[in-house]
Symmetry: C3
Subunit: 478 residues, 3 copies
């Protein structure tokens, strides 16, 4: 093997594999066994409506720039205003409306993404999905824009066609408790019911201090046909919606809490706090307690209905209130904070951690927590699986550190296998490709250090990429 | 050098050395200088009675599976019940009693241990100590069981014979304050007094809220012949037991606290809390304060009697109360939590941190703490040495991170050198072997990056493996 | 390339570059583009008076040993008393006065520094600056002492001559709010006004519970000519001093707080706390609140006068009160503690984090914080730049981890580029050399893994070493 230092970096066949020749040779063999496996995407945020309508994507900027908070936040951090990136204002004020200009604002600052996963994802999307091989720059911006736009107009670039061509075996979306699931019903009637499945995400109804709590509870009441007047009817409505989700093919729930608290409230206290919330009088402390209580309730329900429970705490959402007021959530202002995990999860785990009906996948964006608390928990509680490095950690370096840190204590088989986490539909293959390459490199190192045989390493790589996620998120008989 | 990717991974002569050929060549030279050094094992948990009786080990399962919490917790995490692993119940209820079945439950799940230190330890024990070279599997389980059982029946596999054949120069055990030290007396009368030494572990008598506190205090009273009726007589009893331990060859104390608190209480407050404990009325907060107070008292006593003080805080013991009630402690349910170290240790260190009579070895299972707090403390206080990566961190990757993180600030010579931490007697050589290989690799990298000469690296490797532990834990003239 | 394991490690031309041959070849090319760049040193602690007087350095011990807290703390940690190192006592008590003896105490313990940055810095200073190529030891101590002393007597080793020969384009010092700036005035009249610039460090006047607070406020009042009788006059005096600093060429402020708190007080509360401080009645809690308030005030002032704001919280200063009483601050007893960053900085960032007039460079000595909190903040707030790994993290390994951890989320261009942090004038080139080598190695790995082209990597290396620091700390038009 020779490394040609001047070769273009985009999509080199050995990209992200170890540079050390012995390790690279082994890694190539391992990667060859996983690179062609179908994609199992059980933790995505792709819009179900986009898939159901199967309309052509509008334009390069609205597809690849404006909704991608990784990409937008980098430009903002270097002084590019949200307005000039076309990020919509809640007050309907003017923002850049020419997608070509938005694309230029991005393409001309391509340099900023050196060393970031956004660069790797975008290169993969451009070359491997869209067939664009020119490097992004101010000079090439329009030419690339036009090339992408031309592709997007073709039938093979419609969402459902891409589901096939990208070899996505199953794709989970994320859906609120009050969601109608109409898009999933439409997809099911088109034969996609086992392939595009909802995920039950009740955050808006369990966090009593969210601005959208009341509206979300009302939506859930309407969908469930249950009049929510007290804690009991609230729980009944949630259980009703969970049944509807299971019937629609859902395999998992998803919980994004600020804290990992799981201490249950006694019924009278739960009722008291809930009534206060109905009156709009809940305090922050009560809301925190109630959210913790509901996590353990959700574990109980998962034992009953079989949905895998996914938890990712520790992110302070909407850090800047002015930006939130102006643009809403999910525009790049969610910031990780250190929180307690081991003690916070103790009430839930001592109740349900040995229950064979429960699978609890724990994610974090705090790398300390993986080794110190989550790997020891996953390494003893049968219910716990470690979620993949996620969000800010969905990067080659963090994936490598994850394997190097948690495998000691949790092994490979107490992890969830690779679980992507993106709303950028076209980048799903890129994310799995990175994970498979990094795992191949990590396993190759173990082989090169005489800690695993090549056969074992190859089997492990296949398990991590495909078999484990399928086993962790099985279909439910509804 | 060529790497043969299909070679069996077990006990390759270059295992765990860097795969990069230049570094490996250097690492081999360094490792050649340490691989044959005797083992100094100053922080072990091997049962002194086992050594004193020198009986044959019972069977492979009782020797290698049931008491090994690393191994058992992995099986439990994948749904294997404690009962089927033969882990005894406190209520005397039925558990698997056929050791061959227990061994099968383990051997058939060998795949789970890929990438874990348990795999490395077990391969070393099987091949290097027991002469078994077949790979574990369901198919080979019985054959390997029989081979091990045959070895264990031979006289050269009795404990004291192994002490010689494994080249263990000195082995410290861990002993409660109220222990009779009768096994050590027996060993001493057989000529092993300088080779198998007790360690004074007073956790059960300083943590007032432990369920076994009162019984432990009573045992200490009986052993010391001191009637413990107040704080003064309690301290006198501890000091008396420490003298007995020193007389029995003890070199160190060992303290496993939840917090690193060391704030002293004034005498009246200490008396008040102690009296409350005698009445069974101590609170959690008082117990925590008293435990902190006692750490600084223990530092004072170490200054007086010369015993090295070992502290490893930050582990929440017996995380699951139902498992604890059913199986007792040390079955894999101890989970690290983040705690304050720098401020907590300040009272002790500002009193005794410059005292030339004190050596305080600080361990942690929270890797953050090594770099952020412990290395800066060890790098300035003469009394402080950094304990080796320990327990969940007793792994090749964590050892490597330890060297890469703490050497900057503490150097090599403010560490304790390698200190193993195991109750698995046969695995002691494996643990030292791993450490010597990882240190050889780390030092080889420094040589390859032209930061150390090979001579310096080799001397440092010998110091870490042998000279520093001997110097940090010297014999005391009792 | 061949690695000769027996080559002396000092100043090998490839030192600190990756050992893997493909990566090393690339790293050499990248490093060739940065190794000759001038030094931009915007966060130093060199004494302005030393430069202004331009006197010869006194002797090797007073230049290289006694004032270097990295070096001294290592010797202290191994039992060498401060007295025998000539570290002055506040009570004027006797300490070693023979610099040759102090030098011997250091040289004879050279082994302790293996693997530490002090070793690399000292080797660079000795060989590259002072022309000494012998290795330090007890045997060579005197010979090396004499060689250094001889150099220091020569005119080309006077401070201002070294400023040229070390190719330091600009050097920032650190100066108290009440400093007269007379040395900078003298330097300016000698033509060094743009080359040696002050930095405004108001810690002593904003931390109300510092023992030197009142004296520092009095000094500021005298310098500013403003009678400080209330909060308003206090703020006016600070603003006045800031104007004087800007006029003297200052480009930045520097803030070393224990906490990162930035919550503003309302004016009445600020006045109340300030009046209590004037009466000597301030509490620790009030002082903490006031310090946090003042950070946001400083951000406001930076928006107005353009000075870059540098913040490095989280270090518990003067950990041992007896050592502090005996020797004063800055003798190696500052210990990092974990503190909250994301929430603590929220008040400041939501007020000024999008203000195009502000640049806030955030440093930390807690590596967890870089990835978990600071990179996400720098990756979205236009005002924030990540400061270089600093103090305990100013090491090859920590620099590498910094790039591997923060680049994912913040990229290269939201960092400050390399910013050294030393009071050891002669070691400034060593620190930049290390950074350039480590960055070359990191970038070479990205090239070898086909993630960047060599051209991109080389441009990035130049930006990190030179262009970014110049852009982050621009001259102000006063």
């Amino acid at each position: 093997m020779t490394v040609s230092p001047t070769a273009p970096s985009a999509l080199h066949e050995d990209r992200l594999l170890p540079s050390q020749p012995q390790e690279r040779a082994i890694a190539r063999e391992i990667f060859a066994a996983t690179s062609g496996l179908p994609i199992v995407s059980m933790h995505g945020h792709v819009d179900a409506g986009m898939l159901a309508s199967n309309s052509p994507f509008p334009n390069p900027a609205e597809l690849l720039v404006i909704p991608d908070h990784y990409l937008v936040r980098m430009l903002v951090s270097q002084g590019v205003p949200h307005d000039s990136l076309g990020v919509p204002r809640k007050d309907g004020g003017a923002v850049e409306t020419d997608p070509r200009e938005v694309w230029r604002a991005f393409a001309s600052r391509w340099k900023l993404y050196r060393g970031t996963p956004t660069r790797i994802w975008m290169e993969h999307v451009l070359e491997s999905v869209l067939g664009v091989t020119s490097a992004l720059s101010a000079a090439t911006s329009d030419e690339i824009y036009d090339a992408i736009a031309e592709r997007l107009a073709q039938p093979e670039f419609r969402p459902l066609a891409l589901l096939d061509s990208l070899d996505i075996e199953i794709l989970a979306t994320t859906d609120a408790a009050g969601d109608s699931l109409e898009h999933h019903a439409a997809l099911a009637s088109d034969g996609y019911g086992d392939r595009v499945v909802p995920t039950f995400r009740p955050d808006a109804v369990v966090n009593l201090d969210r601005p959208d709590w009341r509206a979300s509870v009302d939506a859930m009441a309407e969908r469930s046909g249950i009049d929510i007047v007290d804690y009991a009817s609230y729980i009944a409505a949630i259980e009703s919606r969970r049944r509807a989700f299971v019937a629609a093919g859902t395999r998992a729930t998803d919980h994004g809490h600020l804290y990992a608290d799981t201490e249950p409230l006694d019924p009278a206290e739960a009722e008291r706090v809930f009534q206060a919330a109905l009156k709009g009088e809940v305090t922050g402390a009560s809301a925190r307690k109630f959210a913790g209580h509901m996590l353990t309730e959700m574990a109980r329900m998962s034992c009953e209905d079989g949905m895998v429970m996914q938890l990712h705490p520790g992110v302070l959402r909407d850090y800047d209130p002015r930006v939130f007021a102006e643009r809403g959530p999910d525009v790049g202002y969610d910031i990780p904070i250190p929180i307690d995990h081991a003690r916070a999860l103790q009430p839930l785990l001592t109740r349900y951690g040995h229950d064979p009906r429960l699978t609890l996948v724990l994610f974090t964006v705090d790398e300390d927590v993986f080794g110190r608390e989550l790997a020891p928990l996953a390494g003893v509680f049968p219910a716990v699986r470690l979620g993949a490095p996620w969000w800010f950690l969905d990067t080659p370096e963090a994936m490598r550190r994850f394997r190097e840190t948690v495998t000691d204590t949790a092994g490979f088989y107490n992890t969830s296998g690779f679980v992507d986490d993106t709303r950028a539909f076209l980048s799903i293959p890129a994310r799995h490709d990175i994970s498979r390459r990094v795992d191949a490199g990590h396993l190759a190192k173990l082989v090169a250090e005489h800690r695993l045989s090549l056969d074992e390493a190859t089997e492990t790589a296949i398990d991590l990429a495909y078999e484990i996620p399928r086993a962790v998120y099985p279909p439910l008989s509804s």
